[in-house]
């Protein structure tokens, strides 16, 4: 049971600010999506609309075929974990979990206990007394144990150290394998998590820059290095994302799928081909979104 997402010309404005600007996007149910974008690119705005925290200013939003805003069926199946934990500051961790158990129809109590043990959450402590990382761990526990068919994590790992973050990724993957659902992870830690994703969505300035399978994205970014004029001749007509020059040597990042023939041709021309990490592709793509078109 997992929910699909369909957006058409979605816009969201707060007063003068346009947070989302005619965004169209199609997410099939049951996959793990990575949502990337620079600060202020509209990630949280988009997720807030999906989780019915805000109503779209214009356009169509459908989650499992229905408008999620004030929609009982969709809202109880959607869980949005932000960077701030949504629990009462003065309750204990245990009370915060009980609260969620009462309101979440798919809550798994045993799994919640397992997560509490995994993250070593102090159940008797008040939420306000938790460290930043422990607050995040509580949020993640709430997000995973509610088993919502649409589960969203928005930078939910703030303050967590690397071992705790990896524990989160491990739990996410194994629970997703056992209980498939639609998961959207918004993150800045691209290198750390991109292998968790099946597809990546990149936003910039409230618009969609790219929606692609991660593996396709990996294969598409290529850096071409060699004598400037050879590189220029070779990359003419290709989608160039960025270039660097050192003396007569030029390195160009292209967004293009290189088949074996093209690779051989490059090598024959004395050019060096390199891989471009997803993070670098992201940096290039969000620096000049028009390069995508």
């Amino acid at each position: 049971m997992s929910l699909s997402v369909h957006l058409r010309d979605l816009s969201l404005r707060y007063g003068e600010t346009t947070a989302l600007d005619g965004l169209s996007l199609e997410l099939a149910g049951g996959k793990v999506y990575g949502l990337l974008g620079r600060n202020g690119s509209g990630k949280t705005s988009l997720l807030s609309v999906l989780a019915a925290r805000r109503r779209a200013s214009a356009g169509t939003v459908l989650v499992d075929g229905e408008d999620p805003f004030e929609n009982t069926r969709i809202m109880r199946r959607t869980c949005f974990i932000r960077d701030e934990v949504d629990a009462y500051e003065q309750t204990s961790v245990r009370q915060a979990l009980r609260f969620a158990a009462r309101l979440r129809p798919h809550w798994d109590e045993d799994y919640a206990h397992h997560l509490v043990d995994t993250f070593k959450l102090p159940v008797k402590k008040k939420v306000s007394a938790l460290s930043r990382g422990m607050k995040s761990a509580l949020g993640i526990t709430l997000g995973l144990a509610c088993r919502a068919p649409l589960t969203i994590f928005d930078e939910s790992y703030l303050g967590m150290d690397a071992p705790s973050r990896y524990a989160f990724y491990d739990e996410l993957l194994s629970d997703y394998a056992e209980n498939p659902r639609t998961i959207i992870l918004s993150t800045h830690l691209i290198e750390e998590v991109n292998s968790l994703f099946e597809e990546i969505v990149i936003l910039d300035n409230g618009r969609l820059v790219l929606h692609e399978e991660v593996d396709t994205l990996r294969a598409r970014g290529v850096s071409v290095t060699g004598p400037a004029e050879v590189v220029d001749r070779f990359t003419a007509g290709l989608t160039v994302l960025g270039e660097q020059r050192l003396g007569n040597t030029k390195a160009v990042t292209v967004y293009e799928r290189f088949d074996d023939a093209r690779r051989r041709a490059a090598r024959a021309a004395g050019l060096e081909l390199g891989a471009v990490p997803v993070q670098d592709l992201f940096v290039h793509l969000t620096r000049q979104p028009e390069a995508q078109r």
């Binding site: 793990v32 394998a177 891989a275």
Partner: protein, 121 residues
């Protein structure tokens, strides 16, 4: 574990092939499930499944419904054959080019190879 050079699913397929070639995985031996693989290497299960799918299509693995995936009978031999075809182009030609570039006479290279072979037999 995985580099950025190629799609992860291809790297998964390559890794299993290496294991079969090296004898770590025997013929008719059960391989890890997609989910085990996904958890172990911290990768998306769909990505892992795609790697396994490729091996199924190539006939390297076969599926027993409800039980799992196994190494095919002739998988090792098939892989050895494929590698042999690529060996001269990818290994020998590259070595010769490198030797020329840095000024090692081919005779030295040949002597070295003969020594290695003599040492073994």
């Amino acid at each position: 574990m995985f580099d950025d050079r190629s799609p992860i699913y291809q790297q998964i397929a390559e890794k299993i092939k290496e294991d079969i070639l090296a004898g770590v995985l025997q013929e008719d031996e059960k391989v890890m499930s997609t989910n085990q693989y996904s958890s172990f290497y911290r990768i998306n299960p769909a990505t892992a499944a795609k790697g396994f799918q490729q091996l199924l299509e190539e006939g390297i693995l076969y599926k027993k419904r409800g039980i799992g995936m196994f190494v095919s009978q002739n998988a090792r031999e098939t892989l050895r054959q494929q590698r042999r075809e690529r060996f001269f182009e990818e290994v020998v030609d590259a070595m010769v080019a490198e030797a020329r570039m840095i000024g090692i006479p081919l005779a030295d290279v040949i002597r070295r190879i003969q020594d290695a072979d003599g040492g073994r037999s």
